[in-house]
Symmetry: D3
Amino acid sequence: MKPRVIRKIHRADLDLVHQLGEMGVATVHEAQGRSGLMKPYMRPIFPNARVAGTALTVSCHPGDNMMIHAALSVCHAGDVLVVAPVADSTDGMFGDLLAESSRAHGVLGLVIDAGVRDTFELEEMKFPVWAKAIHAQGTVKATAGSVNVDVVCAGALVRPGDAIIGDRDGVVVVPRERVDEVCLLSQQRMAREEQTRERLKQGELGFDFYGMKDKLKALGVEFED
Amino acid sequence: MKPRVIRKIHRADLDLVHQLGEMGVATVHEAQGRSGLMKPYMRPIFPNARVAGTALTVSCHPGDNMMIHAALSVCHAGDVLVVAPVADSTDGMFGDLLAESSRAHGVLGLVIDAGVRDTFELEEMKFPVWAKAIHAQGTVKATAGSVNVDVVCAGALVRPGDAIIGDRDGVVVVPRERVDEVCLLSQQRMAREEQTRERLKQGELGFDFYGMKDKLKALGVEFED
Amino acid sequence: MKPRVIRKIHRADLDLVHQLGEMGVATVHEAQGRSGLMKPYMRPIFPNARVAGTALTVSCHPGDNMMIHAALSVCHAGDVLVVAPVADSTDGMFGDLLAESSRAHGVLGLVIDAGVRDTFELEEMKFPVWAKAIHAQGTVKATAGSVNVDVVCAGALVRPGDAIIGDRDGVVVVPRERVDEVCLLSQQRMAREEQTRERLKQGELGFDFYGMKDKLKALGVEFED
Amino acid sequence: MKPRVIRKIHRADLDLVHQLGEMGVATVHEAQGRSGLMKPYMRPIFPNARVAGTALTVSCHPGDNMMIHAALSVCHAGDVLVVAPVADSTDGMFGDLLAESSRAHGVLGLVIDAGVRDTFELEEMKFPVWAKAIHAQGTVKATAGSVNVDVVCAGALVRPGDAIIGDRDGVVVVPRERVDEVCLLSQQRMAREEQTRERLKQGELGFDFYGMKDKLKALGVEFED
Amino acid sequence: MKPRVIRKIHRADLDLVHQLGEMGVATVHEAQGRSGLMKPYMRPIFPNARVAGTALTVSCHPGDNMMIHAALSVCHAGDVLVVAPVADSTDGMFGDLLAESSRAHGVLGLVIDAGVRDTFELEEMKFPVWAKAIHAQGTVKATAGSVNVDVVCAGALVRPGDAIIGDRDGVVVVPRERVDEVCLLSQQRMAREEQTRERLKQGELGFDFYGMKDKLKALGVEFED
Amino acid sequence: MKPRVIRKIHRADLDLVHQLGEMGVATVHEAQGRSGLMKPYMRPIFPNARVAGTALTVSCHPGDNMMIHAALSVCHAGDVLVVAPVADSTDGMFGDLLAESSRAHGVLGLVIDAGVRDTFELEEMKFPVWAKAIHAQGTVKATAGSVNVDVVCAGALVRPGDAIIGDRDGVVVVPRERVDEVCLLSQQRMAREEQTRERLKQGELGFDFYGMKDKLKALGVEFED
């Protein structure tokens, strides 16, 4: 495949994406059938980082951040940068200057399967980042890559314009055409969980109301005093 | 071995366990002869998490949290859940609903050789957790396991009712029948350390009062200007 | 090589080292030609840890902290302990007592390619540490090693007296004879970055002012709508 | 997404796939623009394992191999099983019995982002496997999953029917609709490499015939005696 | 716990242990209820290594092999050394001289949660070893430890005299008092597997004879053409 | 530091280097005081790989092999390529064409803190390689680096012209000015080991002739029946 920068993409509806963001990663991941979750090594660089936006994808050479600059030339307000080097890397490909530039154009945050630096300044800016590593290691601007193509980032397939939701539990991707459905399923799940929470607080046991005792006995589990 | 849920176990004395908790993981680990410590990948999910209680052990299939529900059906106030999947896993097997249920029954915290989710909510609840990973990945409720059997969790043998102490330095297990002795040894160690601390603050050197210079010379170390 | 403790070393100028510390790890690493950075697994034990001092190096057996005591017998105010076991280890070789002793003699912090413990107390003392692991695992005082010899710590060569700068982005080493030059280069870099930051805040794109579009086209990248 | 088993898929042409297999992973990966390669942790379980076939994809719960059985009910001769658990796992989900069954139906090999067992027997059968781990850990048959849906396996997107090429250098995926083009590009690359090899054997230097000296000088590299 | 060397232990019956060894790790692990398996990072140092013997356990300081020497002073013919340092280590604690000594006293092999060296010579001697790492890193003989106490090795509890079975699939521990029962269960399992193998070779599908289609439909899996 | 290619370096004496190679990595590492060993993740790509030569060092950008070409333009017969990218990488930076070119100029092998590819062909050529990963991932030729400068490779400091010894136990570096001394020390060690081996074969115990029983008792170890 030839490297390329695609300017026009279809993006998920931002209002729905924000609703997904308020419900959080665990709920959305469950609601869409336990799919779309990135690997657990993707961690926020400060504890209360949260983001919900549309994917602006970058496929690039490890240790080379030129294509992130290229991505900012075609970004829209509400986008989240999703950077996937073509091979394993922990280099600090993004820092506070790129965050300033991102913010000036309405880009909400960064999800990067590599490293990030200037993390003290990024927290001061409240610019949310999920990364594999924090590392000052500098990068070059020398090799070609692509913007707004399908990428695999930290084990999840991300297509341009998909919804990206990040919080302390990780990062989940919702395909842009399923945002409406997943939003509804997430709300239903939250309502059910609210009821369950009340019962559990009162001391009822999931073990009892899910009927697990019979299930365990059927599986051969013995209960002993 | 057949899977089984054991209801009645011997538990370490909770008063002594709390005393161990106040002295902290590093002291207790040293006092009992540098044993019982879990692997360093077990990290608290918020910085000031602390726990001291008796082990409620769970042996389960990776990615399946049914046996955690079963464990809550036989828990006592003062217990700490110790969850050990039979194979490597980072799935988020425990979240805020299970924490609500745990708290409703007096379970003090969780030590899990796998993942945990809803970590923002867990910190708000001040429900302490030590885990291998933070991951939203959901689990099923389909396979048998055991409650209150001996398990190996993160490299440490844990028997039901053993004392579990967790803080920022990790998690240590004290065999239930040694809690009395280890408590005394920990207190003695703390007293000695207090004296040492004062001398070090005054500028004395461990190098001098431990007589290390002679020892190093005997080992062939040369001192050069 | 025979194990040895070297008392007198050449140290980088502390005023310059402090200036480097104020500019931070990412800037200094770039200014000296992207060299001297330790591996990304070296993390501060609390978020706002910062240090800038001269290297007091320790080469020791894994799981044995006797040579750290020996190092404190030859330290100077302004030093930073740099501890490099001769083989991989995560043991907690340093705790609050050693920190008290370090502080009493003017040692500013610790960089250790192994574990550390008493991390709650170390944060209370505001004693900055960069480590590979947090682990209560205790150590012995039984085997010979060296103080103030060249070591490789977390992938970086450190010679006694070199400048050690640590912050949230990691740890960088500046050779003691280059501190003057690197300080100047860092200041120049910061000035340039300040100008760039202003332009980016105004909405200018690095993509445009670095002339990347032509470069990408020359590399065969296609731009599509 | 609902779990599902899809019986009819489009497969890459097997003759072309075999030609790709003869040219090997490194060549094919380069020819298609350095894409489609799985992570380096995917290793063959015996040194001379080689495979070239069409992807029969399996998305399953970690530690549960029921969907591999389901996949064999819809396989075609020439397929390669590509198994991607929805979360990290090292369990031995496949052994010699499944290999017998695979072979009886013409399935050529296995690529699994998890563990494998009975590796001695698999080598005796010359049944090629690429896996993340070798582990005897047994699995259950309890939870739903999907067959012949798009999966991400070891960092690479695999769609049902894509070409899967494996050898000692790893595993590469070629999209089924590009097999023709990539085959041609691979042959061209091999022809070019053959010429280069001859020149290099004669002692010519890539440094010279690629004109690197001028390039390096332009990049500021100094040549010193 | 005080360090100690225990001379007399109860050992599993060697004839039964050898029978377990012939059936292999995967079968024995399954037969005893999927328990007792060491972590997948434990690999044989040559492909056809096999061992079956009784555990001679060593708990020692990382990087110190004195207690292995102590263990050989109390070994019996038919033992397998099981070495578990008290903290993570990859040091090469065992080499060809210790193998010569082991062999002279009837010790059959080594299982070590650390490193090993002289691996070329060990293969020439056909001395089987399972280890976490191959590393020339030398060790000292300076600190106390224990012989023939319960240890956790690579995630598995090993008690002195337990059966240790190792092959290409890993290492499994059978409690000494269960050897008889597990031997019988393993034989039954092998007989069943032999029948299954024949059916699979004939082209029958596990999917059919395990009745999985109904099970999958009950779990909500859809079958599509 | 400016990137540079240094043409003339001092090399260790090749006759002595070959003698070191015959004695092997473990012996040489011990003889020079347990120093100079690379990390255990550096593995030979085929079991019987051996090398002994003088270091031709390369410092380069991850994923960019241009400087390896540059190194071959200044190599001497008897050299071993030592490639150290400035940041973590597993890319396959070296393959069979570079091996052909290396061999044409007398370069004996490769030690690379990154990946390698064409491993089947490299084994056929008997071109020995020690690497962190086997990966087909291709690289670019775009960024500057240095040849024949000091590098840290897999945790070991390597200076141009140092002796590099590799075998199945790993890779060790001997400083070029110590080759004579280390050769002698290695021979002495081998002679001593030969005597020890004979005694051990006869059934004598290191435990006895090293006097460990008294040492253990002095350390507080109890002997129990």
